[in-house]
Amino acid sequence: KPALKFELLAKCSTTRARASNLTLPHGPVPLPIFMPVATQASLKGLTPAQLEATTCRLCLNNTYHLGLRPGQPVLDAVGGAHAFQGWNHNLLTDSGGFQMVSLLKLANITEEGVRFLSPHDGSPMLLTPEHSINLQNSIGSDIIMQLDDVLVTTSPDKERMREAMLRSVRWLDRCMAAHARPHDQNLFCIIQGGLDLDMRRECTVAMLERDTPGIAIGGLSGGEAKADYCAVVKAVTELLPEGKPRYVMGIGYPEDLVVSVALGADMFDCVWPTRTARFGNAVTRRGVLNLKQARYADDFGPIEDGCGCVCCRPAGEEGALGVTRALVHHNSAKETAAAHLLTMHNVWYQLNLMREAREAIVGDRYPAFLRRFFRDLHGDKERYPAWAVEALRGVGVDIIQDD
């Protein structure tokens, strides 16, 4: 019996977009959803209360980072990552394998696990599916991820890709066997197979047989063409059962989110909105504004007009700060507090985008939502990205056409 409840609320009558309620051990989460990444048990200067105020109810921690700091013994002593960071809502953790494989030159995958040299002292290390699950059990995250054999999707080695895909399935079995807390932690499988749609389908079928509480699509966001990305998501969601949440890993640009939702995905995570805040970039419905630019120095408007976040609502309203672009400009790259303000705004933006998508799906207005989204973002239709236009045509929406 899974430690979650998934309730499908509405389906778009044109696209594959879905609105649903996911209830996890630490409370309900409306889908579709964007999940910000609090890598080291902290979201870049925000207190858990401030993160909560962005309406976030599910965020990520990275298993590798928590293993290193504070480490399993402390997590066990403190009673898991929720208690450790004072976060009473839901957490999702990755397996930790991605960092090893994508970032360490010397990682080497064998059937046993990921072999790598410790970045600090070069000791030969082995990370197995059992290690990953055991540590995620100590972390106590509401959603845990299987260790997978992940290759960059653009890898030309089809044999190796197939080996990785099949190994990921076998590793899921080992993860399930090692999982000590299925009653209160949900283990998600990760579908692999690169950009080869048949391989993705084969993997999907094999993963579905394992009947995990949720399903992730992995190995994307690695530099593949957007059209290829969309093709994979579309091919996989086609085979997925309606009654489970679908998570596309590592996706976070607003355009990617709204298109992926149209293709039938529900959950996304990415460091981009919080990382870019630290460079003075505000994510808005009209695009990304770099508030470090001189023209914002005496711009006394809110970061984004009409935004409902704590920063942007006019001062005087309950709990609102009336932060101006001029203030962010003044302190961007000079005081950390300015970055914290932008982080709050950007996370709110991402969550609100998904909330508006959800409302549009429930009201069966998702195609109109998409048209408005692209019009606000690009203005001129000439500037709409071809991959998005094509991908949306593939699910029955022509965003070039007027409402």
Binding site: A41, T47, Y64, L68, G71, V78, S118, A326, A337
Partner: protein, 502 residues
């Protein structure tokens, strides 16, 4: 120079003074328009570029129990190379009838927090250029520039802080000026203040936007400034709301000027430790600015002191190190806090201590996560606020002198040096020459003793060029290392993977 605006600005009531002439430790209350009151002795938080370091305005309002912030104009008036003639944006800040103070509006300071505007940061970086008869040299993020008395006064009139300190002719150097220089400081400061009061009497301000003026007294011997102080008392007393005291040594001498005795004293003679704060309170200082609070938070240390000091029996059990002295704080970067599921200080009811515990703050410091410094700022400001509340209770009960003595005996002289890696130098407080600042090696204890010190932690951050500072900030802000450092043993002990034995 009329005094009819007096009723509209801040009022100060001396509730209890140990001596009849207002000298010695005293209990008071500042009353501002909008029925905001501040019980004294107290302290205001020090901002950098308008922000209490690491604290966003929402956290300031909800979790930092200070009633005022100190803001330096030099943080806002830089002239970028690309636009040397621009009007600093802060002067264009809109105001509305319900939000009439542009300084609050620009910095998003909550209106429940009072603002105190001064020309220079505290402590200020000494300028190689020195001051002139028409104004002072200030240090902005684009370098030194001059600030005339007229421009500063106009800035105060435009920005409408709740309180402001008119310009003083200061050297901002740790060495005492010679008598010629000291005499000139007093003359210039007097001239500048006279000009200020003369021109401000011709301006009218609504009662909602008055600015209480704290006239500077100088960090020179009384003999060098008694004429100036006499002029303050005789001619200006009704126009100034309080005194900005740059050296607390002068406080006892203020008794010679009865018209000044009942004015609140804002100490800019930044004390280096709580012990020094108590000494200045004993002299009769009312409102404090404490650069050491921001510095201690940056060093990863959480204050643990209390006033009155706890009884000896309790403390020995707590402490167990054989000495009878209690530490002022604890270095949370110390590995002993790794699994400590306790508040930063037992019994502290601040946000940090009620929502989190020492183990988490330790983790944030060791992971260089910015939230660590935020949580320390919240806690340390709360501890200091509670310290002042304790002082006021003792003053009310008449036990201050006794408790102050006990505090001095119970606590160590200095807070422990933090071993955690610090955030990069904030703002632009770096000097233009010299080697890389030793910021990450220096403990808080390196702050000099009272009186010697014109530059604290922030002032002496050495040697970083602008680009370097920005690069460092970028590191603080952006880098959650994707693959953090960690040896094989740490990875194995942390439960992430095992070392392969071959």
């Amino acid at each position: 120079m009329t005094s009819d605006s007096d009723q509209n600005t801040m009022r100060f009531d001396l509730l209890k003074a140990s001596l009849a002439d207002g000298a010695g430790a005293r209990l008071g209350r500042l009353a501002f328009s909008g029925s905001r009151t501040v019980e004294t002795p107290t302290f205001f938080a020090i901002t950098s570029r308008g922000a209490v370091p690491h604290v966003t305005p929402d956290n300031l309002e909800k979790h930092v129990p200070v009633q005022g912030t100190y803001i330096a104009l030099e943080d806002f008036v830089e002239r970028p190379q690309a636009n040397l003639t621009r009007t600093p944006p802060i002067f264009k800040t809109p105001a509305t009838p319900t939000r009439p103070r542009p300084l609050h509006n620009f910095t998003a300071t909550p209106y429940s927090t009072l603002t105190l505007l001064a020309a220079r940061r505290l402590p200020a970086v000494a300028s190689p250029q020195g001051n002139t008869p028409s104004g002072i040299s200030i240090f902005t993020s684009t370098g030194f520039q001059t600030l005339s008395t007229a421009a500063y006064q106009s800035a105060v009139a435009t920005l409408k802080p709740d309180m402001a300190i008119p310009l003083a002719d200061l050297t901002n150097s740790p060495t005492t000026p010679n008598s010629k220089r000291a005499a000139r400081m007093a003359e210039r400061t007097e001239d500048w203040l006279a000009q200020w009061l003369l021109s401000s009497s011709s301006q009218t301000a609504s009662s909602e936007t008055t600015t209480a003026i704290f006239a500077p007294t100088l960090p020179v011997p009384y003999a060098m400034q008694w004429e100036y102080l006499a002029r303050l008392a005789d001619d200006f007393a009704s126009d100034i709301a309080g005194l900005a005291v740059y050296s607390s040594d002068i406080i006892p001498d203020l008794a010679n000027h009865p018209a000044l005795a009942a004015k609140p004293r804002l100490s800019l003679d930044a004390p280096a430790t709580p012990h020094h704060v108590l000494r200045q309170i004993a002299l009769g200082a009312d409102v404090f600015l404490l650069p050491f609070v921001n510095g201690v938070s940056d060093s990863g240390v959480a204050f643990t002191f209390q006033f009155p000091a706890p009884a000896a029996a309790v403390s020995e059990a707590e402490e167990g190190n054989g000495t009878s002295l209690l530490p002022l704080g604890r270095d949370l970067a110390d590995p002993s806090f790794a699994a400590q599921v306790k508040p930063l200080r037992e019994g502290c009811d601040c946000y940090t201590c009620t929502a989190h515990h020492a183990a988490y703050v330790h983790h944030l410091l060791s992971a260089r996560e910015m939230l660590g410094w935020t949580l320390l700022q919240i806690h340390n400001h709360a501890v200091v606020a509670e310290f002042f509340a304790g002082v006021r209770r003792a003053l009310a009960e008449g036990t201050f002198a006794e408790e102050s003595g006990r505090f001095q005996l119970r606590y160590e002289a200095e807070a422990p040096a933090g071993t955690g890696e610090r955030p990069r130098a904030r703002g632009y407080h770096f000097k233009s020459e010299g080697g890389d600042g030793k910021r990450n090696k220096k403990g808080w204890g390196k702050l000099g003793p009272d009186g010697e010190e014109a530059t604290g932690l922030e002032g002496r951050v050495g040697g970083l060029k602008v680009e370097e500072v920005e690069k460092r900030l970028e590191r603080d802000l952006t880098e959650t290392p994707v693959v953090p450092d960690g040896g094989g043993r740490e990875l194995e002990e942390g439960g992430f993977a095992e070392i392969e034995k071959k």
